[in-house]
Symmetry: C2
Subunit: 342 residues, 2 copies
DNA sequence: TTGTAGGCGTTATCAT
DNA sequence: ATGATAACGCCTACAA
């Protein structure tokens, strides 16, 4: 790689000390307007930009941020990356990714290890890893800056960005009932996740206020995978009678349900409505396309990045209020409309 | 964040100079066995690991690698990250991601800018960005280390990892014909991509040797998006007669074709076989699941990482031979089998 | 408003 | 085999 100009080169060319150049770089006010102009000009000409390693060495900062996640689906991650990058690049940070298996034994050590080795200034933790209290504890002990994305307030506001799953599933309940569905089943996620609880409870509660109560055999626990969706779907669809509608805890499982229904020669949506959660890339392209709930992942990620940088730079955290963003119901082909009922 | 021990702390405790500690760290031979033992012991106790910024400053290296790509929607990227990470983390490198729009005007500058700002030691470029000669030129001019992943040899062997698309599509042609398909159409990708040429030519050539020649109206150019798949599919399926089979340049388009067929009440695979390319996450989950071609993306990414590190560290590039990995035909539900013909 | 000196943690040079 | 000492590029006291 070509050698880039250093602050010394600039200083020499400008005929000033590097301290002055440093001042210009960092926007200090106490620099003669003319000298500043001149220096900025030279900086532009030379295409100079301060070396992050060196600056980091001096300032004890790496200008590196990390995102930690376990497989929430590529679609999700890409959106997160986009949202994060947009915010951080203009502030001079770079993004390092750290996938991990948060079920594994050494997972907490793995993550703290990553943070130390890579020397990131802070990390954004995505669900479902974000729900790990153990990890948050470890980070706190080690004084690591972090922001968690989740669907419940698990931590102090300045470390959380929250999506209001509960509200969204209530909308969904309302919609299903309005379309004439009565016998509704749900495939929830792993009990350990608070997102699971939020969605399940939110959904059941909303149904309850609409006069519908789910019997125990209509609620079954999946593990958020496509395979699990098939299995749980089959379990539900071999009951007699079969339910009118199935709400799965995420799109992967919902698509599994559609597959299960197909294998059992059950028509979606004519004989069965299916709803997912996430609005992942597949949702719109599936046949039938999937009715689901979309979280503004990009925006959430962007606020997470902002909060993280605020921590790192000790900024006046005016946006310290818990970020609570609304999720949105997207109606597609996998749910039967009232007008379709016979 | 907690302050980590430095090389000075270790040196002091060991009662030696930091130069000696440095020697131990870097595995220099000329250190007394006993001193080495002792120092290593202390290093372990203290959980010391050298600071990358500082080392990088001294050695002019950041221990950061980048991956550059467009098309964040693909499932491709996640696999690439996995493959790359596995190789690089054990060598002490970290991974930075850089999505970009390679159709945009300033795209080359954007990428070189990224390389300089982030100070990565090298980058892996994914298709289709990897096919940009302009970018490769720029990288060469700037002396940037890079490795390109593509389906043709566009560059010197030590900068390329190649998947043998041509071979794979020949297998596909063979299979389709063997299953009794005669009137075959193809939706190719943008002409500008060499992957497009590889697949189109490879496919047509293979068909030709099997005694089948495609007429011009059976070949149409898409842009590799789902939407384009729908449009091209519709175009093909409103011809009279409609083709037996459609081979789309990638899975996204193939899934668009299935949608188009569905909208036109054409049954897949009974009346139409559809084949994609990539074996993305959707392929197996689609209804019907998609017959497609799978490249060993993870492995390709891993070799790319190895080659990149070899460049950076001036390693004896024994694995300098062009990496040519085979793609593989995956038969699923979207193609009609011979036994199904009436 | 500007400059000098020293330090951040590591490796490289050259002695010893 | 080991150790001073000087880089590496930048920043922050402290002076002038």
């Amino acid at each position: 790689m070509k050698k880039r100009p250093t602050i010394n080169d600039i200083a020499q060319q400008a005929g000033v000390s590097k301290r002055t150049v440093s001042r210009v770089i960092n926007g200090a006010t106490n620099v003669n307007a003319k000298t500043r102009e001149n220096i900025q000009q030279i900086i532009r000409e030379q295409g100079f930009s301060p070396d992050k390693k060196a600056r980091g060495l001096a300032v004890r900062r790496s200008y590196l941020l990390g995102i930690i996640y376990d497989n929430p689906g590529t679609f999700y991650i890409d959106q997160v990356q986009e949202g994060v990058l947009q915010v951080i690049t203009e502030k001079g940070y770079e993004l390092i990714v750290h996938p991990c298996r948060y079920q594994d034994a050494g997972f907490v050590d793995n993550c703290t290890g990553f943070v130390h080795r890579s020397n990131v200034d802070g990390v954004i933790v995505l669900p479902p890893v974000s729900e790990s209290a153990a990890l948050a504890d470890a980070f706190n002990r080690h004084g690591v800056n972090y922001v968690r994305m989740a669907s419940v307030a698990l931590d102090e506001p300045y470390r959380m960005v929250i999506s209001d799953d509960r509200h969204a599933v209530a909308d969904l309940a309302l919609y299903l009932v309005a379309q004439g569905h009565k016998d509704i089943a749900v495939i929830s996620g792993p009990n350990a996740y608070s997102s699971t609880t939020e969605r399940l409870e939110g959904f059941c509660h909303a149904l309850h206020t609409l006069g519908i109560t789910l019997s125990a055999n209509r609620i079954i626990e999946g593990d958020n995978t496509y395979q699990s969706g098939i299995a749980c779907g089959r379990a539900l669809l071999t009951q007699d009678p079969i339910p009118d509608a199935i709400f799965a805890n995420n799109d992967d499982m919902a698509i599994g349900v559609i597959r299960a229904a197909h294998d059992l020669k059950i028509n979606v949506p004519q004989s069965l409505s299916v709803v997912g959660f996430d609005d992942n890339l597949m949702a719109a392209r599936m046949l039938p396309s999937l009715t689901t709930i979309r979280r503004p992942v990009r925006d959430m990620a962007a606020s997470a990045a902002q909060k993280l940088i605020a921590q790192i730079e000790n900024l006046p955290a005016d946006n310290i209020a818990t970020q609570l963003v609304k999720a949105q119901l997207i109606v597609r082909e996998s749910t039967r409309k009232k007008s379709d009922f016979s």
